[in-house]
Structures are given as C-alpha cells and as structure tokens.
C-alpha cells in the first residue's frame, strides 16, 4: 500500500490517512481485533516515516511534540498552504 519511491511527505500523509480511518472505525467498533492490529502496525510505521520526513524537512508538530531540536526551524517556510 505504501510504496518505497514516494516522497517523505506523501508517505506520512498516506500512513496518517490509514490511521485516521482506522481511528474513526475503532471509535465505533472498539472490539474489532483486526482493525486494532492494523492500527498498531500503521502506528509504528508512521513513527518511522515521521522521523524520516523530519530529518529532511524539520519538525511536523509544535510545542515539543517533535522532540528536541538543535536549531529553531519550526518557523521556516514553506508553510503547508505554500507547497
């Protein structure tokens, strides 16, 4: 489903989309073990994909949620609507 040759942003967006879908589905089907297993699988791949993206383009989340930072690149352009 998520191919290797995609750009890091697209990989993050694809994995996040799967997680948003599974999250909403689990909200109304909390006992579905297959969905839960898929959620957990995507969640660990998501963490890796985010780290790959952030190493190249800077933090994805504010307020410390992207971890420690050597220099303050949060404010760097482009912002999402400019890409």
């Amino acid at each position: 489903m998520v191919k290797q040759n995609m750009n890091p942003l697209q990989t993050v967006q694809e994995l996040e989309f799967a997680l948003v879908e599974l999250n909403l589905y689990l909200d109304t089907h909390p006992n579905d073990q297959n969905a839960l297993a898929a959620f957990n699988d995507f969640a660990s791949r998501y963490a890796t994909a985010r780290a790959t993206y952030e190493a190249q383009y800077g933090p994805l989340a504010n307020f410390g949620n992207s971890g420690p930072t050597a220099s303050w690149t949060w404010i760097d352009e482009p912002w999402p609507w400019e890409i």
């Binding site: 942003l9 967006q13 948003v20 589905y25 109304t28 933090p59």
Partner: protein, 190 residues
C-alpha cells in the same frame, strides 16, 4: 489541548489560478455547510455526550474538520494567488477585495460572514447526532456542487477527497447514534 501538524491532511493542487472558483469554494470556509461550522459544531457538542464513544467520535471528527478547513483555505489561497485586479473584478470578488483585500475571511461565497447560527448544540445527544448526520450530507452535497463547477482535475481531486470524508463521517455518526440510542434506552427507568 490541540497540536498543529505542519502539513496538509491531503495534497491540494490547482492547475491554474481561478478566482471565480475561489469565490465558490469560500462557502466551505465560512458558509452554512462549511468546515469551520463542522469543526465548531462537533467540538462544542462533545461535552454533553453520555458515553466515551460519543465524546471520542466528536473529538476525532471535529479535529479532522479543522484539517479540512485548512485544505479549503489552501484551495482559495492557491486559486487567487497572483490574481490581478481585473481577474478579481471579473470573478465577482471586487467587493471581497474592497473589504478584506486578499485576506482569507471566513465567510460564504457571497462574502456573508460566518455565524454560529449555522450550528446547534442542543445538549440532547440524539438531537445533536441527528444534526451531525444531516450536516455531513449537506457538506457532501455542497462538494458535489463544487465539483460540477470546475473542470480543473487537480482541484477536483482535493474536492473529491473532502466529499468522501463526509460520507465516512456520516457513517460513523450513524453508528454512534445507534449505540447511544441503545445506551439511553437501557438507562431508562419507568
């Protein structure tokens, strides 16, 4: 607490600037069935949901609507970027320009400011979830209107994504309504 993610939920692309289409899309930024109303509706209703499931669904869908609100602003931004005064006037955005310049103001396609009169927060979970299901259908219909108004396949791709999300939200709200209806019936004492 909310966190901001410095990325769009789904890519927004436009083939060409198109101020007229931007004017139409404005309705999903600050109009009656738009994404701002959706987010404020769900995030306000969650406090009085009787079960964790109701609170969770409204929190998650309300949060996703904020990401859609950002996608809509991005569409307007990209469609109007670099527009000349002539483009703006021809698109019918002259009055928008007079009042708000190139500011992306939360109003509808006619420039009517957003109002919370577009939403309701009844406190009654059954009434609220019915409103939410209707709201998703109205947003779905609005996206279909917008898709018919453009022939830009790149723009259409983003609009189709947003339309599809309304269908999924409707489904999840329906399941939540069924569950909460059952929960409330089981609590009734005669």
């Amino acid at each position: 607490m909310w966190l901001y993610e410095k990325k769009l939920q789904y890519p927004v692309r436009v083939s060409n600037p198109d101020s007229k289409m931007a004017k139409y899309i404005y309705t999903q930024f600050g109009g009656p069935n738009g994404e701002l109303g959706a987010a404020v509706r769900y995030l306000s209703q969650r406090y009085t949901m009787p079960t964790g499931r109701g609170k969770g669904v409204l929190t998650d869908i309300g949060t996703e609507e904020l990401a859609h609100w950002e996608m809509i602003a991005t569409m307007v931004y990209k469609l109007t970027k670099g527009a000349s005064i002539t483009d703006i006037k021809q698109a019918g955005l002259g009055s928008h320009y007079a009042i708000w310049d190139s500011g992306i103001f939360p109003g509808d396609s006619n420039g009517v400011p957003f109002t919370t009169a577009y939403i309701n927060v009844m406190g009654d979970p059954i009434a609220d979830l019915h409103e939410d299901m209707a709201a998703e259908q109205k947003a779905r219909a609005t996206y279909e209107n917008l898709i018919r108004l453009t022939d830009d396949v790149d723009l259409m791709d983003g609009l189709k994504f947003l339309r599809e999300r309304e269908v999924v939200h409707f489904q999840r709200f329906g399941e939540t309504l069924d569950y909460i209806q059952g929960y409330m019936d089981s609590k009734k004492a005669f």
